[in-house]
């Protein structure tokens, strides 16, 4: 089979940005596309969840929550070893403990294109993984101090855009069920890939802008942004295997653990840890890790999952 066109759209955006082309999508489009993607992912998960809910799911969810707490705790000492200041290390650790819904959409499309089965309630795990790392990151930076405005912050974190869309979609999907949702099905069947392609074009353009700041952030950041996804993927894949997920499910969990947030966490960190340098974490997660996962990581994590299953 040829190159995945969705990935090619990303490469196209990346190149267009790097050669400083005039190409620019209207600002509202990025928001629109990400809203459609998140809702579609949530709906699909909800519909399937209604069909295969089981008590085992609760245990799995708790295990995934623990993974979300563990990932920043692994990342933080690594970053400190690379001699990042404490606050920056904590902020970057929070980004990598949390997840990228964009990367999730790509791995889902990748598996669907190859007819590889995966547990369809995975969107639930995306929502579960998004939050804990932010709290761990703040605690790593400041300890438990009174001057953190937890009320405003929890509003930002728990009612953030991506969580609301994912959970909203999930709940609508569960309540409506498969038959009633049929008219909306194109959202996650025939429409999903075209929307994802445009979304990735824009992501390519955005990523190329952040690549530019690499010169100022240095090789230590690059080393971390390339190495940590592999550590995270291994942790995610081992957990997925221990939970008895299918090969597809293990791949998705590995990809989630390997990905770094670039929407929810930067916004939360800006408010909670304003002294952390946002250029560092965004360059790492958007400029390096996101392209790495899309181009190299996902196929790699699938091989890892297959190897672990064998």
């Amino acid at each position: 089979m040829g190159f995945d066109p969705v990935v090619l759209f990303f490469v196209f955006g990346l190149i267009a940005g790097l050669v400083k082309s005039e190409l620019k999508l209207p600002p509202g489009l990025y928001d629109t596309l990400s809203i459609i993607l998140l809702l579609a992912i949530g709906l699909h998960g909800g519909v399937e969840l209604a069909e295969q809910a089981s008590p085992a799911l609760l245990g799995q969810t708790l295990a995934v929550l623990a993974l979300g707490i563990a990932l920043p705790l692994i990342a933080f000492p690594l970053l400190r070893m690379l001699r990042f200041p404490r606050v920056d290390a904590a902020s970057i650790a929070a980004h990598y403990g949390s997840v990228s819904a964009g990367t999730f959409a790509v791995v889902i499309a990748y598996l669907l294109a190859r007819d590889i089965m995966f547990e369809s309630y995975m969107p639930l795990f995306v929502a579960v993984l998004e939050v804990p790392a932010i709290i761990v990151g703040i605690l790593l930076a400041k300890g438990i101090r009174r001057d953190t405005d937890w009320k405003a912050l929890s509003h930002e974190v728990f009612l953030g855009k991506s969580i609301m869309l994912l959970l909203g979609g999930l709940i609508i999907g569960v309540l409506a069920g498969k038959e009633a949702i049929a008219p909306l099905e194109p959202l996650y069947t025939s429409m999903f890939k075209p929307v994802l392609a445009f979304f990735l074009l824009e992501m390519g353009l955005i990523a190329s802008r952040h690549l530019g700041s690499l010169r100022t952030t240095g090789p230590r950041l690059v080393a971390f942004a390339l190495a940590f996804p592999l550590v995270g993927a291994l942790a995610g894949a081992l957990l997925g295997t221990a939970l008895g997920l299918t090969v597809g499910g293990v791949t998705v969990l590995a990809t989630l653990a390997a990905s770094g947030s670039y929407i929810a966490v930067p916004a939360a960190m800006r408010l909670a840890l304003p002294e952390a340098n946002p250029a560092l974490s965004l360059t790492a997660s958007l400029g390096i890790t996101f392209p790495f996962n899309i181009l190299v990581g996902i196929p790699l994590y699938l091989s890892l999952a297959e190897w672990l299953a064998a």
Partner: protein, 100 residues
Amino acid sequence: MSMSTRTLLTLICEAALEPRLIKDLQRLGAPGWTLSDARGSGTRGVRSAGWDNDGNIRLEVVCGRERAEQIVHHLQERYYDDYAMICYLSDVEVLRPQKF
């Protein structure tokens, strides 16, 4: 036509601060404000507003001198160290001073 002088406070800063600033303005008794998206470049680099995370906002408040200085003082104390933010005051002439 009689015009009165009031102070225009213009604030340009990171979009992430918007909800907090609105709360602050309400608490400090700003009579009203106008908010718009902005982009530009400064000591913190280019802020292109290409997407959520790297946009600026421009916030304008017309009020009495004393209140404007109070707001500026608060902003400086609370945000100047850690956020990309500039703010300036200018005199403007208004038609209906009782509004401000």
